[in-house]
Every structure is written in C-alpha cells, then in structure tokens.
Amino acid sequence: MRTILHSDCNGFFASVECLYNPQLRDKPVAVCGDKDKRHGIILAKNEIAKKFNVKTGEPIWQAQQKCPELVTASAHYDRYIRFSKLCREIYSDYTDNIEPFGLDEAWLDVTGSTMLYGSGESIAQEIRHRIKAELGITVSIGVSFNKIFAKLGSDYKKPDAVTVITKENYKDIVWYLKASDLLYVGRATERKLKQLGIFTIGDLANFPLPLLRKNFGKWADILHSFSNGLDFSPVMKADEVSAVKSIGNSTTAIRDLENFEDAKIIFMVLCDSVCRRMREQGYRAKTVCISIRNTELYSFTRQKKLDCSTNLTSDILKASLELFKGNYTFDKNIRSLGVSVSDFEPDTVSHQTSIFVDEKSVIRQEHLDSALDKIKNRFGNFSINPCKLMFDKNLSGFNPKEEHTVHPVGYF
C-alpha cells in the first residue's frame, strides 16, 4: 500500500503577507489584484477573513460589504514563488516524489521513506512543524493511500493540521463529505449528481455504476473509482517534467477594448509572449486558440488549425487576428483576451514545407524572431517592440511572459 501526503499551504498568499506585516496578523486580511489595473478580485484570504465568508475570486467591494474592516494587501508574486520553493525544499528532505499542484499544494509519495522517517503521519507532523518554524506559515496535510483521499484529507481540517485517512476509516470520513469536495466535481457535475439523489461521496461510491455511466459517460468510472479510493495514479517525480500540452497567456486589459486596433495591440503583446515561451521550450505549434471576454463577463473561445506548424510570432499573430475578426463584431466592448497554442512538435524535427509559402521569407522571419529574443532576454521585455505598441503605452505596457504565474493544471 502506498503512503501519499497532500500538503496545502493555508491561505498561502495571505499567510505570506501576514508574515511580512506582523501588524496585520490579527486582522481580516485579503490579498487582492491591482484595482487600478482592473484585476480587483480577492486572490486569497486569511482565517479571520474566512470567518466573514470572504470568498476567493469575488470582487473587492463585495468582500468589503461582508467585512468592512477587511485589510487589502497587494500581491507579491516573487515572495510567493520563493516560499513555494522553500516549501518544496523541505518536502525534498523526505522524498523525491513531489508533484506540485499550483504554488501552494503538492503531493508527496513517501512510501519509500517510511522505514527511515516513520509512518506517513509522523512525516506529515514533522513537515507541518518544520514549515511553521522555518517559514512561519501553516500547512494542512492529508495522509492516505491514494492521491484523491490525501487531497480530501488536507481539506478536512484546517489550518495547521494533519488528517489520516486509512483503508479502515475512509468510509467514516470521506463518505460523509459533500460530493462537491471531490476533485473534478464542479458546479455542473454537482447539479447533475443532485438530480440523481447523490449528495455525499458515499452516495456516489455506492451508486450503481451502469446507471452512473448513462449519465456521465466515461467520467462515471473516474468518479466511481475516486469515491471508492481506487485511484492508482502515481505521484510524479520532482525532476520529471510533464510534456507541455499548451502554452498560453491572457490578460484583463487596463481599459475596455473598443475597436479592432485596441484588440490588435493586446494580441501583439500576448502572441509575442506565447511565441517566445514556445521557442524557449523548443516547440512548434499547429493549433491556435483565442479566448474573448466582453464587459458583460460573457466569454468564449475559438480555435483553428494551421496548415503547417510554426513558432513565428507573425504567423501566430496573423492566425489570432483572423480568428478574432471572424468571430467578433464589437457589439460589446472587450474586457479580456487570451491566446494559447497547442498541438506541439519539437522544433528540432524537420517539417514539411509548402509550395505556396516563400520559405526564404520564413527563414528571414526566424532570424528576426531569434534576434528579437536575444535582445529582449538581454535588455528586458520593453527594450524593443513594434512601433504600434508605442502608440498606446498604457494598453501595451504589460509583460505577460514575466508576470505569468503557474496555475494548477488538470489532474490527468
């Protein structure tokens, strides 16, 4: 049987801010995006703010209505990345099987370390103590025999706690939890489950599988195995880099985009960042996807396949703008835009050229991109830019490549 830990830093961003500002510690604190840049939502809150029912993702004004004394702190990503790294260094004293899930969560497979450091629970307690003493923030850790139950364990008791879920007691702990606590049961799935009379994870585990399949297709098997503790997915090794499936950037613009020219400026910055990242990682992409969100917060995505795979900024930009023109008419102004590329092949393999494309100009573009990359790497993102971006520096003055942060990716 495996021993798996899931460690979750409690209110990570807020805890780090409270550590650096001791005078905030006894007040309700929320870390927020930059209001002036229109990123004014709650990113994280501390335990006191949680008692006022302040929720992650809600706008600042709404949180302040619930909790008038709420102290808002601005985010310092460099600190969070540093603390995330320090946490991982502590984990790596116990195992090399560490799979990060965002900045603040990680799975640890300590099966091979139990002979050295004691049971899963004692390792979890030691990690909890060390992170509190060495980093001044708290974690809650779930200990179990699979990743799903370990994650449920870390959510079970917060903050600064260890929960052990074994094969003997999981029916008493896990099965009484709400079905929506399970990974991959979101709002839509929860609603569908409720219609079937499934409210708890126990209900889900005992629900006849064929009937579940009828409603959920292949997800039925996954939900069934998750709820019965039959998840066998391994914890990835720390140095194992999973194959990248897509690279993307998105941004909420500093003001609403009113016309095609505004949108083009944003697309130019986004495509530049996406393509630089793609070239750094050594890929060419064949599919381009854009996402659009208007001022009513209605959003949608559109994607297209290219004739040949490419990593040229100009190609990706052209495809994005074509997609945009073909799918948006500016009946509403735009709040945010995103570009992502997928369907990768390594840039080291030779690729099929086209007789309709002037390959000489492609090579010229490649040289241009690599020269621009070098200049930007050496002198910074804003050292060289297309003239168009200079017309509206407010709009184009963001740097998605460096401001980019890693968010939790899918479980599969």
Partner: protein, 79 residues
C-alpha cells in the same frame, strides 16, 4: 520591529557565510563573539524568514537573520 543592518561576514571556501560583526547606523559596531546555532527559521516578530544565526554579543543573545541577501534583526527575543 524588523531592522535591516549592515553586517561584516566571512565567506569560507565551501560557500558558508558566517557573520562577524554588526555595524550600526550610528557608527557603532558590535563583534559577534560566538554563533551558537544556525538554522532556517521564520521571525514572526520582525516578519520574515531565512537563515537564523543565534549570536552571542557581549553576554547577550541575539537572532540575526539572513533573508536572500539582506540581514535583519529583531530587538525582542522570540519563542
């Protein structure tokens, strides 16, 4: 209170850093007589986390923290 200080330190051949002297803003400086403990620790009073040196300076014990590449102390004793 978190107070950043100027420190004279020794880098040995293995890359270890040992503080030797704390230089105060007003020109006074204090020799560190002995370092009794080195460990990673958070300072809840000063607000920060890094490598904590427990230093003996003229019969009194002080915590000196190295956070990234800045040194800080807090005047009150912790724990």
């Amino acid at each position: 209170m978190k107070q950043y200080v100027s420190v004279t330190a020794k880098f040995d051949a293995d890359g270890n850093i040992l503080p030797l002297k704390i230089n105060w803003d007003d020109g006074r400086s204090f020799d560190i007589d002995r370092i009794t403990d080195i460990r990673y620790a958070a300072s809840l009073k000063a607000g920060g986390a890094g490598i904590r040196y427990t230093c003996r300076i003229k019969q009194s014990e002080k915590y000196l923290f190295l956070e990234d590449n800045r040194w800080f102390i807090n005047n009150e004793k912790e724990h």
